[in-house]
């Protein structure tokens, strides 16, 4: 079936925030810090204020009555720090908003923003984790003199040192991944309408989390939530960057209140690349002990995450370091595990969850450890993985980190991937290629993807608010149309199609009968939005439950109208039908008309209306996959090209295979981007150097290969539909898979590359070094 969403997007009929026009609209532009670290001595707004077309200039002094924005995590080892909405006395990253200018045209607003004169006293910037941890480093925040916003011994094991020291093989490594950024094709945009007469505010914003934005923005403005309506219209991608509350979302509302007119802010790409949330900058110092047969006995890890200048709300800067510690052992049976995990503050743009959240990195860590062990023991890398994967009979399996993994097809997906790539034949080709001086390599990554986290999982993370459940509300209208309202917020994931499919199946109607509504806090039940691969499990589960309740209600009304017992009725083709006597039926349309417009025909005491509401709050469920790829490295340029890319995935029951494959392909593309192309680069003084798409290299169709996808199906016991989430797996598996293949191609040269992205120059330097050591290609 074609997607419900497609027609409007293909005809120019979609409505993104910047497409919305309202009378009297004013435009907002920000004056942002040009320095990574500085004290603000003074701000002169006179020239900006007298710029033609400028209505108002606001600075921190105008925000004094607001609540303070302090993301919280209820852990003693977490240091909460305030994110000033507009900088007060200090700036802590390039791009931090210092003043805002409202004007009659976007150009006038930008003219005004350029004329805000800020006098800065520059301070020594802390531009890297090494700088932050150096003795006598300046403190990014006074409350964290050691620049650690989180320093947690997540798990200890008193026996671990002995186990590793006594192991047949000890593998030590330092693995790193660069800071990257999500680059949704639509950058953030906000349109706030403060209605003075009704004392209500409507905020249109490009977000993944409309209700969290409502709660948070209303809290900061100190207004009751029912006076704020948040609408996420069409949203042009998010990937996590839009699953946190941005300062600009609050500030646009404040600007509208200040001038009594609707105000719009549309980020340009430079603002998106410089000032919007980034992620994935991590370093892992690991030590592992293996048996001579390649079985991992123990894993000791120190995790460093460069979280930038502030915490994000509601997840905080603990999201990556804590995810890494909780899930690092992955689908492997290692029993001794110790992990210390740290969030380091630097004078850089803050980080937020980005597709995968530390799992692309922990998969890299585990897969490279497996590969290194294989190399040292003279074993095939897939064989070492197979010896460590959770065996079929062991589910549900509790990992060394205490995580309970439900049934999956880990071993089978690896075996299928090995078969699809014909590993044995590849090794022969590789031997021949090496004799010709060609560099080809094959890599794998095996991983589980935790999805559909419920309240319990977020409570364990000690978040101040605990996302988890979601609610679905269904109503039949008098014409037989069915409206489904949900609290999730699709922004490319096709929920208008897939949630309608779930409801349609339960109600035995065509999916086109179901109209899915989302993203408007005045219409939708309170919900947590779309992130963490939760929607198909959580919202899909609530949808199925509500649909079954609505089916019961329809049968109940049908039984009166057909004078038949409810248990003798079934739903078929939009009607309630007497089982075995299809001529005895009443259509949903007739039931709707009677239940709303002719309620006198209902039995005494029967309430009007046909509605249902249900909640789902699952414990969480794991998808799994194995990625495999074959690459060829050009020895003259260092460039990596793909010969094959295979994904064998298992996300349980697929509601819509086309959408599943779309998520896999898009995720793999983002993972390849992180493996080979993308990185946010800062100079030593904290200046971002990748401020346009000429510098930050999002791959094109020339770089991304065809992805061959194979499906396995292990239905989840923890979801209503058997489906498991799968929105992030592509991004989690691809970096490790690519790194594994590149290292496989270079293994005979004693080259090991453990830092992402693997750029052509690094490959060339490594090859050159190998050549000087007289190793033939």
């Amino acid at each position: 079936m074609s997607r419900v969403e497609d027609h409007r997007h293909l005809t120019g009929g979609a409505s993104f925030v910047d497409d919305i026009a309202v009378p009297g609209l004013r435009y907002l532009a920000f004056t942002r810090s040009p320095y990574a670290a500085a004290r603000i001595e003074s701000i002169d707004t006179d020239e900006a204020g007298s710029t033609p077309g400028v209505d108002a200039v606001l600075t921190a002094g105008d925000l004094s009555e607001l609540e303070r924005f302090i993301p919280l995590l209820n852990r003693p080892d977490f240091v909460p720090v305030e994110t000033p909405l507009l900088a007060r006395d200090r700036v802590r990253h390039v791009g931090e908003p210092v003043a805002m200018v409202v004007a009659r045209t976007p150009h006038a607003a930008e003219d005004g923003a350029e004329r805000v004169r800020v006098s800065y006293e520059r301070l020594d910037p802390v531009a890297s984790m090494d700088a932050a941890m150096a003795h006598h480093s300046p403190a990014v925040h006074d409350d964290a003199p050691d620049n650690l916003l989180l320093d947690a011994l997540f798990q200890d094991d008193p026996e671990i040192d002995g186990v590793i020291d006594g192991a047949d093989l000890i593998v030590e490594a330092t693995l790193e991944s660069a800071r990257v950024t999500a680059v949704p094709m639509e950058a953030r945009a906000c349109l706030a309408e403060w209605h003075g007469r009704t004392r209500r505010c409507t905020l249109h914003t490009s977000t993944q989390i409309p209700h969290i934005v409502r709660t948070s923005v209303a809290g900061l403005l100190a207004i009751p939530e029912h006076r704020l309506r948040v609408i996420a219209p069409d949203v042009g991608g998010g990937f996590g960057q839009k699953c946190v509350v941005a300062r600009e979302e609050v500030l646009t509302c404040i600007a509208s209140r200040a001038i009594g007119q609707p105000v719009k802010w549309t980020a340009d790409r430079q603002e998106n690349l410089v000032a919007d949330f980034q992620g994935h900058q991590q370093r892992y110092e690991v030590r592992a002990g293996f048996t001579g047969e390649g079985v991992m006995l123990a894993l000791d890890a120190l995790v460093w995450t460069d979280v930038g200048a502030y915490s994000c709300h509601p997840f905080t800067c603990g999201v990556e370091p804590l995810m890494a510690a909780a899930e690092m052992p992955g689908p492997y049976t290692v029993r001794h595990y110790r992990c210390r995990t740290r969030a380091v503050a630097t004078h850089k743009t803050p980080m937020a969850p980005y597709r995968g959240v530390a799992r692309p990195q922990i998969v890299l860590v585990m897969e490279r450890l497996m590969q290194k062990a294989a190399l040292r023991l003279g074993l095939e890398q897939s064989e070492v993985r197979a010896r460590n994967l959770i065996p079929e009979r062991a589910f549900p399996y509790t990992t060394a980190a205490g995580l309970r993994i439900d049934k999956g097809s880990y071993g089978e997906s690896l075996a299928r991937c090995v078969e699809a790539l014909d590993l044995r034949a590849f090794r022969e080709r590789q031997r021949a290629a090496r004799e010709e001086g060609r560099l080809i390599g094959l890599g794998f990554s095996c991983f589980g993807e935790r999805t559909g986290y419920g309240t319990e999982a977020f409570e364990q993370r000690k978040m101040a608010m605990t996302p988890g459940y979601d609610i679905a509300r269904l109503a039949l209208d008098p014409t037989g149309g069915i409206t489904l309202n949900v609290g999730t917020a699709s922004h490319g994931q096709s929920h208008e199609t897939t949630l309608a499919q779930i409801a349609a199946e339960a109600l035995a109607v065509h999916p086109a009968t179901i109209d899915v509504r989302q993203g408007d806090t005045d219409q939708s039940p309170y919900g947590w939005g779309t992130f963490a691969s939760r929607s198909m499990v959580v919202s899909g589960g609530a949808t199925r439950r509500a649909s079954l309740l609505l089916a019961d209600r329809l049968k109940h009304l049908g039984s009166h109208l057909l004078e038949a017992a409810p248990e003798d009725l079934e739903l078929r083709d939009g009607a309630v039908v007497v089982r075995g006597s299809p001529e005895q039926s009443v259509s949903f349309k007739d039931i709707g008309r009677i239940a709303y417009l002719e309620v006198h025909r209902l039995p005494a005491g029967e309430e009007p209306g046909v509605e249902a509401r249900a909640v789902f709050d699952p414990p969480g469920t794991f998808s799994n996959a194995t990625h495999g790829c074959i690459v060829e490295i050009d020895p003259d340029t260092g460039a990596v090209g793909f010969d094959r890319y295979v994904v064998v995935e298992d996300c349980g029951v697929m509601i819509n295979p086309m959408v599943v494959e779309g998520q896999v392909r898009g995720g793999v593309a983002q993972g390849i981007a992180a493996a080979l192309y993308e990185q946010v680069v800062y100079s030593d003084d904290g200046q971002p150097l990748t401020t346009s798409l000429m510098d930050y290299l999002v791959p094109t169709a020339s770089e991304i290969p065809q992805v061959e996808i194979f499906h396995l199906e292990t239905p989840s016991e923890h979801s209503e539909t058997g489906a498991k989430g799968m929105g992030e797996g592509g991004t989690m598996g691809a970096p490790a898979c690519v790194a594994s293949a590149v290292n496989d191609a270079l293994a005979h040269l004693d080259i090991e590359l453990d830092s992402l992205p693997i750029l052509p120059e690094q490959v060339l330097v490594a090859i050159k070094r190998a050549r000087t050591q007289r190793k033939p290609l």
């Binding site: 074609s2 005809t11 910047d18 094709m185 042009g236 460039a639 346009s692 290299l697």
Partner: protein
């Protein structure tokens, strides 16, 4: 800044007069002066191609063209592709191949592909890939976009390509020699 010019611009066959500041881009004129919000602005520096429209027969980045440069010109946007509300072959193929997810880059790819297939109705797979590499998509991994354009070429764009956009404007009709411009190729060996 009061450097305002009166321009005449024909969009999807519909002529309009607009007063524009000299510094206003064609993308802003289309979106905010004329209401063709199907043209999206993704980077404003000519890399992502979300704002691609067809100007006098050739695909251009409308963020890199000033409105005044489009005086007396004919522009085709995504709104002009579907005749009488029915999707054309290219649009149908995009839907069938799942070549769009969030939809933000989609209008740019549709206009890019329209220009490609008019100039080269039977492109090789490599020619399609090269043209598609002009624009960025963050959701799909590109493969479905390539497949959708391949499918359209195999079915024949002409059967669904709405001629209205190019009729009645008196100029800028199809130039058989037009090719997809390379003005926005990325540096860095991409």
């Amino acid at each position: 800044m009061n450097d305002v010019h009166l321009i005449t611009i024909t969009v999807n066959g519909q002529p309009s007069e607009v007063a524009v500041e000299a510094r206003r881009t064609l993308a802003d004129v289309l979106r905010h002066d004329l209401g063709y919000t199907g043209t999206h602005v993704g980077c404003e520096h000519g890399i992502c191609g979300a704002c691609t429209v067809i100007l006098d027969g050739a695909p251009v980045r409308s963020c890199l063209i000033f409105g005044v440069q489009a005086d007396d010109a004919s522009v085709e946007t995504v709104e002009g592709l579907a005749g009488d509300g029915d999707l054309n072959t290219l649009q149908e193929s995009f839907s069938e191949q799942h070549a769009l997810q969030c939809g933000f880059c989609t209008p740019g790819f549709l206009m890019l592909a329209t220009a490609l297939l008019r100039a080269n109705p039977d492109p090789t797979d490599e020619e399609i890939r090269e043209a598609v590499a002009s624009n960025l998509c963050r959701c799909t991994g590109y493969e479905p976009i390539l497949a959708a354009i391949r499918q359209t070429a195999d079915r024949g764009l002409a059967s669904g390509d709405d001629e209205a956009g190019r009729e009645g404007n008196g100029r800028g009709t199809r130039d058989p020699h037009v090719s997809v411009p390379r003005e926005a190729e990325q540096p860095g060996g991409q």
